[in-house]
């Protein structure tokens, strides 16, 4: 059901763990399935993401998208990280089954939540970043008959 890349990131997830005194931490839950993701960011003075860790309570797709998302943000600037969407994470994993698309939203939202936390802690405003919801929804997938 999953692509090779998904299975690779699932069985050997990159960047699992915590960062002590992280610049930003975000935790988001998926209202659709009850899964939870937490992202830790270590951001330097120039706004570059030096380190990233995650923890996920979720399905195979949730674990793999978290892992992939951490790889994508690492070394990026805050502005670049903001441009990472669930779509780009899915593409990097060679796709997800249709019922698992919502899982990738967790990754996108977890990045946003961690960046929001970073912005609040440092009293800065990041252009284009809105306050993330702690519970994320997506459009209902409608099956057309």
């Amino acid at each position: 059901m999953y692509t090779e890349k998904v299975m690779d990131h699932f069985s050997n997830p990159r960047n699992v763990g915590e960062i002590e005194n992280a610049s930003g931490v975000g935790t988001v839950g998926n209202a659709k399935c009850g899964d939870i993701m937490r992202m830790y960011l270590d951001i330097d003075e120039t706004g570059v993401i030096q380190d990233v860790k995650f923890k996920t309570f979720g399905c195979g797709a949730a674990v793999a998208t978290s892992s992939m998302a951490t790889e994508l943000v690492k070394g990026k600037t805050v502005e670049e990280a903001l441009k990472i969407t669930n779509k780009s994470v899915m593409e990097a994993l060679d796709g997800l089954p249709p019922v698992k698309v919502h899982c990738s939203l967790l990754a996108e939202e977890a990045i946003h939540a961690a960046l929001w936390d970073y912005a609040e802690k440092n009293n800065i405003k990041i252009e284009g970043l809105e306050k993330p919801k702690s519970d994320i929804h997506e459009e209902e997938e409608t099956i057309e008959y």
């Binding site: 659709k32 399935c33 009850g34 899964d35 923890k55 309570f57 979720g58 399905c59 195979g60 019922v99």
Partner: protein, 392 residues
């Protein structure tokens, strides 16, 4: 260990080689249509009735009371919809439970959209129906009680005889989905006051795509599938002769071996349960400790999620399930685990292991070791576990 360890016998079972052997002649040699008049086909009619007899005997029923269907789901749909239709002059109320298989639940929901009223009974923390609630739920308009014999996820066996007595006392028809129980535990439809009973061959080492509905003499339900005059004009369609013959053979073997098999499975199951509960912290056993199917173990591991656990077990060649296979398309935690009172996130971390007599102690030992490793690994990446350990 490269060999697969199959611990998902509640999803489906391996068809026994003896069963396949019994079926084979009916594909290429004795392939006639049992409804035909010539001699060549009448041997097939005989074979179908022999299987029907074997099944009737296993239920303590009469041979004229067993009707073959295309599976357990069809049997459930038939019993419920046809009763609703046949008895609608009497009333429009049906009583069932919150832990039925979707074949029953979705059929009841369908009827609700069509003017019927359905009561979904609660169960206790072990998954057992509360008989006093059942009595209280009965109304003058109640036409059917449909309560499963044994649950497919947590293995809990219901007090069927007591339910049958309540139904009889109140002159209400009683249907039971025995897809998980038939030929696994003792059943006698007359002693237990069962009016209709569903079963499916592939759950007892028979072929897929064949089931039956037992309908007690005098129950006035008509067809779900209309057409030819097969199955005493109650279920149309050319008989699946090889399937029926295979079902008969599977039941014959399952009944002959039931006692020994149950003993062996219970021993293995109890060993598995004991080890898991002792060696994996923050774990609970779901379902009743005693009133459960011989081959069922169902655990919840706190702080982890079921699908990840399944995939990692799969990478170690262990086939297991979290909730019923049929519901794997869904993202919701199992309705059964919610009904026994588990919170969402704990229901999510559940694992069902359903054994067969072919499993060995070595397989169970290997599985327990792997469960320990994987649960540990998943907890290390779980934000819920992190919160929990921080709080301590």
């Amino acid at each position: 260990m490269e060999k697969k360890i199959y611990l998902d016998n509640a999803a489906t079972t391996r068809t026994r080689p003896e069963v396949v052997d019994a079926m084979l002649p009916y594909f290429t040699e004795k392939f006639g249509n049992p409804s035909s008049v010539y001699e060549f086909a009448s041997q097939n009619k005989k074979a179908v009735d022999e299987a029907r007899g074997t099944i009737a005997k296993a239920l303590g029923a009469d041979i004229t009371e067993v009707y073959f269907t295309g599976g357990g789901t069809e049997a459930d749909n038939w019993a419920i919809k046809a009763t609703a239709e046949a008895y609608k002059a009497k009333g429009n109320h049906i009583i069932t439970t919150k832990i039925e298989h979707h074949a029953v639940l979705h059929t009841c929901e369908y009827l609700e959209k069509n003017g019927y009223e359905v009561t979904y009974l609660d169960v206790d923390e072990y998954g057992i129906v509360k008989l006093d609630q059942l009595e209280k739920a009965i109304k003058p308009t109640t036409i059917l009680i449909t309560i499963m014999f044994a649950n497919n996820e947590i293995g809990t066996i219901q007090p069927i005889k007591e339910i049958g007595e309540i139904a009889k006392r109140n002159k209400i028809l009683f249907h039971t989905d025995a897809v998980q129980a038939f030929a696994q535990v003792d059943i006698n439809v007359n002693d237990m006051g069962i009016d209709m009973l569903s079963a499916s061959a592939h759950k007892l080492n028979g072929p897929k795509g064949i089931g039956f509905l037992y309908i007690k003499k005098g129950v006035k339900i008509r067809s779900l599938i209309h057409g030819g005059a097969q199955e005493r004009q109650r279920r149309a369609g050319t008989e699946n002769v090889p399937g029926v013959v295979g079902f008969g053979k599977a039941v014959e073997i399952a009944m002959a071996t039931m006692e020994d098999r149950a003993k062996k499975e219970i021993e293995l199951r109890d060993y598995l349960i004991k080890r898991v509960l002792a060696e994996v912290p923050y774990t609970r056993l779901n379902g009743d400790r005693v009133k459960r199917l011989p081959n069922n173990a169902n655990f919840s591991f706190q702080f982890i999620e079921g699908e990840s656990l399944l995939i990692m077990l799969d990478m170690n060649h262990i086939c297991a399930s979290s909730g019923s296979a049929c519901t794997s398309g869904s993202l919701d935690p199992s309705h059964v685990l919610l009904a026994i009172g588990l919170p969402h996130e704990i229901a999510h971390g559940s694992l069902r292991l359903t054994l067969s007599e072919d499993n060995t102690v070595e397989e169970i030992d290997y599985t327990v070791e792997k469960i320990k490793e994987i649960v540990d690994k998943l907890r290390k990446m779980s934000p819920l576990y992190e919160d929990f350990t921080r709080k301590r």
